[in-house]
Structures are given as structure tokens and as C-alpha cells.
Amino acid sequence: MWKSLWRLREVAGKYALMLGFGILCFLGARIFEAQVPLYLKEGIDRMAAGNADVSWPVIAIMGAVFARFFIVSAARYAVRQAALRIAFDLRQQLFSSLQGQGQAFYNRYGIGDMMTRAVSDISLIQRLFSMGSILLVILLFATIVGFYYMLQLSPELTLLILPPMPFVFWYAWYSSREMGVTSLVVQERMSQMSEQVQENLSGIRTIQAMVQEDNEVQRFAATNQLYANAFFEQARINSLMMAVMPSMVAICTITILGYGGNMVLEGKITIGTFVAFFTYVGMVVQPFRVAGFIVNLFQRAAVASNRVYEVLDLAPEHADNPSGATQALLGGEIELKNLTYSYPGATTPSLNGIDLHIQAGETVAIMGRVGSGKTTLLRQLVRLTDAPAGTVLIDEHDVSDYPLAQLRAQVALVPQDSFLFAETLQHNMTYDDPSRGLEAIWQAADAADLRRTLEGFPDGLDTLVGERGVTLSGGQKQRTTLARGLVRHAPILLLDDCFASVDTATEEHILRHLSQLRSTQTTLLVSHRVSTARHADRIVVLEEGRIKECGSHAELLASGGVYADLERIQREGTGDA
């Protein structure tokens, strides 16, 4: 645990002075605080002695309060500010680090996991600094300072109230830990319930179509009950602690009451001391209540620290080491030399000995089953995955020789899943370069057959996408992402099966546009449809990561292989291939 927490010095070191200042102030505040019972004692003693002049104790108390007010404000502010800045820095580091990761990483961890790290874990670390460290330090002070003044007043009575302390501490520690555990259970059940509600509401049409409402309500009732039980359990432990803790402390109180009372009667201590002891016991015991909470916070923060640094420690997935020997503008010639690629952890290669030479300006269609390596092949060209050196060449240079930014600017990949940001359509279409002119945008919109859709929205290009704006259909989304790719006029364009949600007539229209627009530029397109592939200069059929067939539409039909079969199945729709 300490090792994980120690790691946080890297981000907290910058604010060590601020933290130190805060902690020092807290110590001072505690000392001033301890003066109040001391002068209360003085006042009571004077009263008991029949002395009505209490101006000095009153002035001293007011002075202590006044000083404490400023010191404690400064202390809290310093410490919380430091914690806030630590969280700020961690967020920046995490965001930056996450942007450098790629598919391999997100397949392993998932976005939800990362969000938890960014939100819960960082806020735990923030709380560790703003509360945990402070609590630990100041509460330790409270105990030490409290005992110091008690010893000053009466060592005998102080020693007598010591024996129950370990038990009080143990119980407080135990039950506040217990509370930590149950609060986790409550959280867990809550998220279970949220999940169930979410799942239910998003599937409401199916549920109603299948007349499953009653079943679902019953299922929910069970989850709801479980949650209520957990909540009750948490409340029970809390309430029990509220009853038992003071009762245990009462052992000390009764000791003071009985033994201390006798000492007063015997004249060993004054009434003022007797009263002050009650206050000091409260001061000493108060930290115990949160002991378990602190331990819990430290443990959880240690885990959080591990989780955050696990991500921060990762190198970016794709190193950017340009050779400097490459030209600024790509010509568009692609060569794959015996390209073999396996995803990390995979037993069989996704691409296996691919040899393919594509001339600048050529249009090549890639076909094949799900999992045959089509997408993997495209991803090599923009370095979303890194192929072995010397196997993927553009304009006779290895792809890793190019600066990553240049490569991705001039090789445009339109991915299969059409992701749009919750921003305007224009913003989405010019995501890589917001300064693009309207003319270029509309030209791309025309090519992607998006003009009519855009003109159909009252706000046109300024239409917001997503929950706060319009919900686009699958086809509209796909055409928007297509436009986002086309607007770049990249020397190499890679289309990864991006006509799946577009109807055939529209697809036909887009492809015709595309061949005019990109007659001199290289285009690779992945598809399941023969109707799409047939427009290409050449068609490559992949099977289990190897090139099975390669040739023009006519050639492949004539050779009577897989492609010809596919063509027949798709044309006739008969299934005995």
C-alpha cells in the first residue's frame, strides 16, 4: 500500500510546500483550540473561589478563537487547493496518455474502465490529499495535544482514563471499516439496479411486444428489495456506532465523574480541572470515530493510485520516429511485401504473407468473410496497428518512416462504425481541420449523397448531432462519416465497409461520384457486396488472412472461384454454394 501511495509524490511533489504549510497551520490551530478548555477551567475555578473577575480567561478564550479562525481557514484552503491541483494535473496526464493508446489497449480495458479511473480514482486521490492526509495528521495532533494538557492538569486522572481507550479505538476502527464495506455493497446494488433499469428501458419495445412487463417488474422488485436491505444494513451499523461509541467513552466519563469527583472532594484537583477533563476526553476520542474511515480511504487511494499509474506508465501505442527521408506529399503507391500480422495474444495470424502492389490512382476492392483480415489490412496503412518493418510501404518508404501526423492526414480511413461527435454536422465533417471552407464541405456532401439530408434539416450544417440534437439514421451517419473522409482529398482513401447501412441505389450513386472524384488517387474499399466491388479496377478476395483471388471483376468471374460463387449467391439468392 505504501509503495502505491509513495508513487503519488511524483504528482504531489510540486505542491509539497503548500501541503506542508497547511499541515503546520493545522497543528497551530489545534494548540489554540486546546486553550479554550484550559481557560474555561480557569474561569470556573475563579467562580468557585468566589472571584467574579473573569476578564482574563474570557479575553484569552476570545483571542484563541480569533487566531484559530484564521489559521484553520488558511490550513484548509492550502490543503484543499493542493489536492485540487493534484487532481487537475492527474487528469491532464491521464487524458494525454489515453489519447496515445490504440485498439489493443481499449480491447483490453474498455472505455467504461477508463472513465472510472478518470472520475472515481482521481477523485479518491484528491480526497486522500484534501481529507485523508489532513485527517490523519490533525487528528493525531488532537490526541497528542489533548493528552498533553490533561497530563499537565492531573497525571493521576489522565492515567486512569487510559485503559478503556484502546477498546474505544478498536471498536471505532472496526465499525467504521464495517461501514465502508456496507457502503460498497450499497453502491454495488445501486449500480446493479441502474443497469437493470437502463437495460429495461432501452429494450422496452421488445419487452412490451413480448408482454414481459409483469415479469420485469417482478425481477425489478427483487433487485429493489436487495438494495433496500443493503441500505438498511448500512443504516443499522451506523446507528449502532452512534449508540455504542459514546457508551464506551462513557467509561472514561464515569471514571472522571467518580474518581475525579472524589479528588475534588479531597481537594486534589479543582472543579475547573474536573470540568475541563470532560472536554479533553471528547477531544482525544473524537479522531477515533474516523480512524477506520481514514484507513479505508488510504487503502482505496492506494488502489486508485495503482490504477491511474498503470495507464500513465504505458508508452504510446505507436512510436513516432520519422526517418526524415520521406517526401511531404504522398503519391499513393502502396506495396505490401510478405505482410504477416497477428494481434497480440492471437494464436493465428490475421494477415498471412500478403503480397500486393497497388499503383497510384488505382481503385481496389477487398472482399472476404468476417474475420478474413480486410479491416486489419487497412489499419496497417494508417498505423492503427504496427506491421513488421519493411512489409508495408507507401511510395517505397516504410509506413513507420513517415511522421504519424502526416501519414494519418494523407491516408484517410473511413471506419466501419460511423462514429459522430455530439457536435454540429459541420464540425463532424471537418473534424481534422475546422478551418475548411464551405465549398469543400458541400462538395464532399454531394459526393457522399448527403446534400438532400443536410438541406432537410432546418439548421443545415449547424444541426447538432446526438442526444441534444437530431438522431441520425444509420445510413445518414454512414454518409456523414464518408463525407468526413472525402472532404480531405487524401492521396490514399480507405473505405472500410461503409455502405452497409446505405441502400443500393444510394450506394450506386456515391460510387459513381467517387470514381469521378478520385480518378487519379488511390482508393481501397472493403465490402461484402459484389455490387460494390465490381466497380473497382481490381478485386482482392481474402480468406483466413491470405490472398485467395485477385483480378478484375470479369477475370474473377471467368476463373469461377470464391468471387464467382459469391456473385451467384448474391444475384440469385440461392443457398447451395
Binding site: 487547493q81 496515445g100 421488445t206 457508551s247 468473410r369 480511413l413
Partner: protein, 643 residues
């Protein structure tokens, strides 16, 4: 107060919305403004009507509630007795041996003396014994009070949540078309949660205020003037608390908002990371993230400044009060106006006197949030949009033949454009009808009307000659098996997902159904076969497998009519063949209406209906339509033209 009134009026309006039966009025649809569902509500601070409604759910637990109230009175008295024993019994009576004390002692002095006499011990030991007993009782009674209170609250809210869920579960499609699922969901989760907080807060306030009044009464009886001085602090504290809350309410909101936009930005950025990387936007986005991060830090810092001062101020009040007590009490004690024990008692009561104000301040935020949550909850509960069921539904025969007739059917979602425009068609029992047409032509709406997901008044649909509006939607939906494009997986095993809680579907029957629709192969390959737990969105299944599973589900239920919205997503050719084969078996002997995207499905249909702009553009067999040289032929040729 004016705010409260406005919301009460709004409340009334909701209540007065007449509950209609049978025939839906055309005006109703136009009148419903779904944006209301997402809008911010009145935000009244204290809405008594609302509080009353929330308490209504506690009614079944009112005895427990009453017991809790009784216990809190007892507990408060005990809380006050403990310092009385220290100050009045021990200091005044035993140590100072004051003849009489102004402070009420609840007969504790006599009791102590009696114990000392009966047990033959010193009075101080007797006082200790008494203290121990009171302390023990205090613990037990307090625990019992909190337990009864929390139990009645938890049970009431559990019931409220379940009622809300049930209500939402039965809202019609027209409702879910318009409102965001996330917003509906938070009502069941976060909003009810806020009520838990509220009622728990009220519980803790009771625990603060009852002792407050008991202590106040005792202090007044000892020295009204000193009590008056101390009470002067209360308006000051209340005012400062008010200022603090007012200043921070907006700040806290800003903090929350900036934090949530920070998270949203990251979430979106990660979801679209591939696009970000492919567009080379990393630097720009990091800078933008930093802007939001700064925004958050600014608001945090502002609210932090106020919080630290406010916290320190609150801490100081108790100590200042001690100073005041000594300053005031010293001459009084010396002149024997009050006893020393009385003065000490004052110092012990300070916390009980001041803490309720602080606690109240802490609770106002919760109160605010809870009021808003309560409004949202009851708005949802009052939302009476529903499918109108017939007063006396027609009982359907054990087995329907399955003929369907649409007669002059028109339908519009909003007042403006008709989605279905005067459609009349008769589908024979056992016929297989394929519907083709561009997106947005109204195909999906047509089949949704057949499942009675929407009320319609313009035109009629007949099922075996029975008016659809005379059939209860539940009865109908058991006879019409609908397979939608987005197949919903319920959390549970594969078997659960096929049987869907229908006890009459045994495992054998489920397996048989799966075998028929070619799903058995991949299900057997799953780790636990039919007992494999499926994840919420079915990520562990491919698109094609999900489709096959949906088929198995329908086949097992064996409805007389099948309605299918064929999936458009690209599925590899092999699975495609399995699906086609399954579809073939599924439609045999069943009236089937299929929104078709695949040629084979279309070709195998008895008739094909080309739908465009809410109307039937063409209707006939594959051959007939090809001969017609219309839209169908065009569609067909585009995809399958010869080289």
C-alpha cells in the same frame, strides 16, 4: 412562497388531466408536450403538496413511524439528563452541596441519594451508577429510534420506486419515442435516491431539534437572560448560513456542471478515439480538455474559499459562547444568583443549541435537490399517456386463422405529416408478405400499428375480422410475434432468453425451437450451452447469432402471426444462409409480414408490397412487379444488373 403556489397549480393541472378510456381523442396527442418531460421544473424550495405526496407512501408504515417519534422524545430527554448528572447532581449537589439549585434535575438528586442510601455507598458512586444506567438507556433508545425511522422510510421509498418502475414499464411507445431513456432512468435511480437522502436528513434533523427544545427549556428555567444572549447568536448563524448557501448554490452547480462536461468530453473523446487519431486531433483535444479542466478548477477554488471560512466560522461559535457564558455567569455565581453547576450545564448545552442550525444549513441543499427530484418523480407518475384498451376486450379464440386487413388506415405521429396514408390491404391467413421501400417510408410504423404500439383512430385493422381496437394489447401481442431489428437480450441464460418467463416453454421445447432455426449449433458451442449467461447487450454474440436467437424466441412462443423487421447489418454469407433457411421454417404455416432487405426473402414471399411515402406504391408477386416496370424493378436492377 409565490413559487410554491405556481408549482401547486402545475400540479393541479397534471391531476386534472382527464383519464380517458376507450377512444383516444385526437386532440390529446397534440396537447402532449414531451419536451416538458425533460424541462427543468419549478424548483420550489418547499413544496408542501409534494412532501405530502411523498409521505403518502409512508402510510403503510405509520405505526412504526409513530413509535419512532415517541422514542425520539424519550431519547432527547435522556440526552439532556447526562450533562445534568454531571453539573447539577455531582457539581452542585455533591461537591458544592448547594442547598437548592435553579436547574431542574428531573428528580435525579433524590434518586442519587436514594441509591446511595439503599446500596450504602457514597453519593458520588451512586451518581456514577445512575450515569451508567442513563447512558445505557440512551444508547438503546436512540438506536431503536433510528432503526424504526429508517425502516419506515426505506420501506416507503422502496414501494415508491417499484410503483414508479411499474408505471414507466407500461408507458407506450409514443412516450419512449420522444423522451431520452437516460432522463427516464435517472428518475428511478438518482431521483428516488435524493428522496432517501431527504428523509434521512429529516430524520437527523429530528434528532437535532428535539434535544434542542428540551435543552432550551432547561436553560430558560435556569437563566432566561443568559439564554437570551446565547440565542442572539442564532440569527447571526442563520444569516451567515443563508448567505453561504445562497452564494454556494450557484457555485456548486457550476462545479457539478463543469465536472460533468469534463467527464462527458473525455467519454466522447475515448468513444471516438479512432476518429481523433485518424484526424490528428490529439493536441487540439488535449488543449480543449485543459480549458474545461481549468473551468472546473476555477469554480472549485471559488467555492472552496467560501467553504473554508464558513466551516471555521461555525467551529468558532461554540467557543465564543463559552467565553460569553463565563463572562456572564461569574458575577451571578459569586452572588449566588445561579449555581456553579448551572453555569457548567450551560457550557455542556452549547452544542445542542448551535448544532441544529448548522445541520439545517447542511440539509437545505439536500432539500432543494430532493424537491426537484420529487417533482420529477411525480411528473413521471402522473404522466398518464397510454395505449387505450377496450372497456370490454373481445376474447380471442384459442387459435387464430391469421388473416389481417388494413382498411383505410392513416396515421401521423405529429399533427403535420401523415406517416401512413390511407392504406388498405388484405392479407390472407398463412400468407407471406414482404414489404420493401426506402427508409422513412412508414414500413416500421405499419407493423407497429399491427402490434398496437400506438393508438390509431383513422381507419381500422382487422384480425380474423375482429377490430384490433377491441382486443386488449396484451392478448394481441401474444398472438403477434414481433422481431425487431435491435434484438434485445434480457440478462439471463440463453434458455431464459428463449422462454422469456413463459413456464409452458420447457427446456426441450426451447432447444427444439433453437434447432429448427439453426441456433442450436452456436448455442451448444457456448461455454455452458443453453445455461450460458448472456451479457446485457449481448456483446458475446454476433449480429447474425442474435438474429437466430430472436427467431428461436418467436418460434418457441408460437404466435399465429409473425412480424419481422429484417436486420440490415452486413452479415457474412454463411450465416446469411442459415438465417434464410431459418426464416423459411419460421414463416411456414404462419401469416408473416416481413420488412425485407434481402433478395431471397423478397423472392420467397407470396406477395411484395412496395411502400413509399406512407402509401402502397406497388403490390403483387415478384414476377408481376418486375413486369410492372416500376419502383420494384428499378430497385431490383440496380443491385443485380448484368455486366
Amino acid at each position: 412562497m409565490s413559487k410554491t403556489t405556481t408549482s401547486a397549480v402545475a400540479e393541479k393541472k397534471l391531476e386534472q388531466t382527464p383519464v380517458k378510456h376507450d377512444q383516444p381523442a385526437a386532440s390529446e396527442k397534440a396537447a402532449r408536450d414531451h419536451s416538458m418531460f425533460d424541462a427543468e421544473l419549478s424548483g420550489a424550495v418547499l413544496n408542501m403538496t409534494l412532501l405530502g405526496r411523498i409521505l403518502g407512501w409512508m402510510k403503510p408504515y405509520k405505526y412504526m413511524f409513530a413509535l419512532s417519534a415517541l422514542l425520539v422524545l424519550l431519547w432527547s430527554t435522556l440526552s439532556v439528563m447526562l450533562p445534568v448528572i454531571i453539573s447539577v447532581v455531582v457539581v452542585d449537589h455533591i461537591i458544592r452541596q448547594e442547598a437548592e439549585s435553579m436547574a431542574p434535575d428531573f428528580g435525579l438528586i433524590e434518586l442519587t441519594d436514594w441509591i446511595a442510601l439503599s446500596l450504602n455507598t457514597s453519593p458520588i458512586v451512586a451518581a456514577c451508577l445512575l450515569y451508567a444506567v442513563v447512558q445505557l438507556l440512551w444508547g438503546i433508545v436512540g438506536h431503536a429510534h433510528r432503526q424504526t425511522l429508517i425502516a419506515s422510510v426505506i420501506n416507503g421509498l422502496r414501494d415508491l420506486r417499484l410503483d414508479l418502475f411499474q408505471h414507466l414499464e407500461t408507458r407506450p411507445s409514443s412516450f419512449y419515442d420522444r423522451v431520452a431513456v437516460g432522463r427516464v432512468m435517472t428518475r428511478v435511480t438518482n431521483d428516488i435516491e435524493a428522496l432517501y437522502e431527504l428523509l434521512r436528513g429529516i430524520g437527523s434533523l429530528i434528532g437535532e431539534f428535539v434535544p434542542f427544545f428540551v435543552a432550551l427549556a432547561i436553560m430558560l428555567s435556569i437563566d432566561p437572560l443568559l439564554t437570551g444572549y446565547l440565542l442572539l447568536a442564532m440569527p447571526v448563524m442563520a444569516f451567515v448560513t443563508y448567505l453561504f448557501r445562497r452564494a454556494t448554490r450557484e457555485l456548486f452547480r457550476k462545479v457539478r456542471m463543469s465536472l460533468s462536461s469534463l467527464n462527458q468530453y473525455m467519454q466522447e473523446n475515448l468513444a471516438g478515439l479512432q476518429v481523433v487519431q485518424l484526424s490528428g486531433r490529439e493536441e487540439t483535444n488535449l488543449a480543449h480538455y485543459e480549458d474545461i479542466n481549468w473551468e472546473n478548477r476555477r469554480w472549485e477554488t471559488k467555492s472552496m474559499r467560501l467553504e473554508t471560512f464558513y466551516g471555521a466560522f461555525n467551529d468558532s461559535m461554540g467557543s465564543i459562547a463559552i467565553g460569553v457564558i463565563i463572562w456572564y455567569a461569574a458575577p451571578e455565581v459569586v452572588q449566588n444568583e445561579i449555581t456553579l453547576g448551572g453555569a457548567i450545564l450551560f457550557t455542556r448545552f452549547i452544542d445542542m443549541l448551535f448544532h441544529p442550525i448548522v445541520a439545517l444549513g447542511e440539509q437545505t441543499n439536500i432539500l432543494f435537490r430532493a424537491m426537484a427530484s420529487g417533482e420529477r418523480i411525480f411528473q413521471a407518475l402522473d404522466w398518464d399517456e397510454k395505449i387505450h384498451e377496450p372497456a370490454q376486450p373481445t376474447q380471442l379464440p384459442a387459435r387464430l386463422a391469421g388473416s389481417i386487413e388494413f382498411r383505410e388506415l392513416s396515421f401521423r405521429y405529429d399533427a403535420d405529416i401523415p406517416v401512413i396514408d390511407n392504406v388498405s390491404v388484405h392479407i390472407k391467413a398463412g400468407e407471406k408478405l414482404a414489404i420493401v421501400g426506402p427508409t422513412g417510408s412508414g414500413k416500421s410504423t405499419l407493423i407497429r400499428l399491427l402490434g398496437r404500439f400506438y393508438d390509431f383512430a383513422d381507419g381500422k385493422i382487422f384480425l380474423d375480422g375482429i377490430d384490433l381496437n377491441q382486443i386488449h394489447s396484451h392478448d394481441l401481442r401474444r398472438r403477434v410475434g414481433v422481431v425487431l431489428q435491435d434484438f434485445h437480450i434480457f440478462s439471463g441464460s440463453v434458455y431464459d432468453n428463449i422462454a422469456l418467463g413463459n413456464a409452458s416453454i420447457s427446456k426441450e421445447r426451447a432447444i427444439a425451437a433453437a434447432k429448427t432455426v439453426n441456433a442450436h449449433g452456436f448455442v451448444s458451442a457456448l461455454p455452458a450451452g443453453y445455461d450460458t449467461e448472456l451479457s446485457e447487450r449481448g456483446q458475446n454474440l454476433s449480429q447474425g447469432q442474435r438474429q437466430l436467437l430472436a427467431f428461436a424466441r418467436v418460434l418457441a412462443a408460437d404466435p399465429e402471426i409473425l412480424v419481422l423487421d429484417e436486420a440490415t447489418a452486413s452479415i457474412d454469407t454463411e450465416t446469411e444462409l442459415l438465417i434464410q433457411d431459418a426464416l423459411d421454417k419460421l414463416t411456414t404455416g404462419r401469416t408473416s409480414i416481413i420488412i425485407a432487405h434481402r433478395l431471397q426473402t423478397i423472392q420467397e414471399a407470396d406477395r411484395i408490397m412496395v411502400f413509399k411515402d406512407g402509401r402502397i406504391a406497388e403490390l403483387g408477386t415478384h414476377a408481376e412487379l418486375l413486369a410492372e416496370q416500376g419502383i420494384y424493378k428499378e430497385l431490383h436492377e440496380l443491385q443485380f444488373q448484368e455486366v
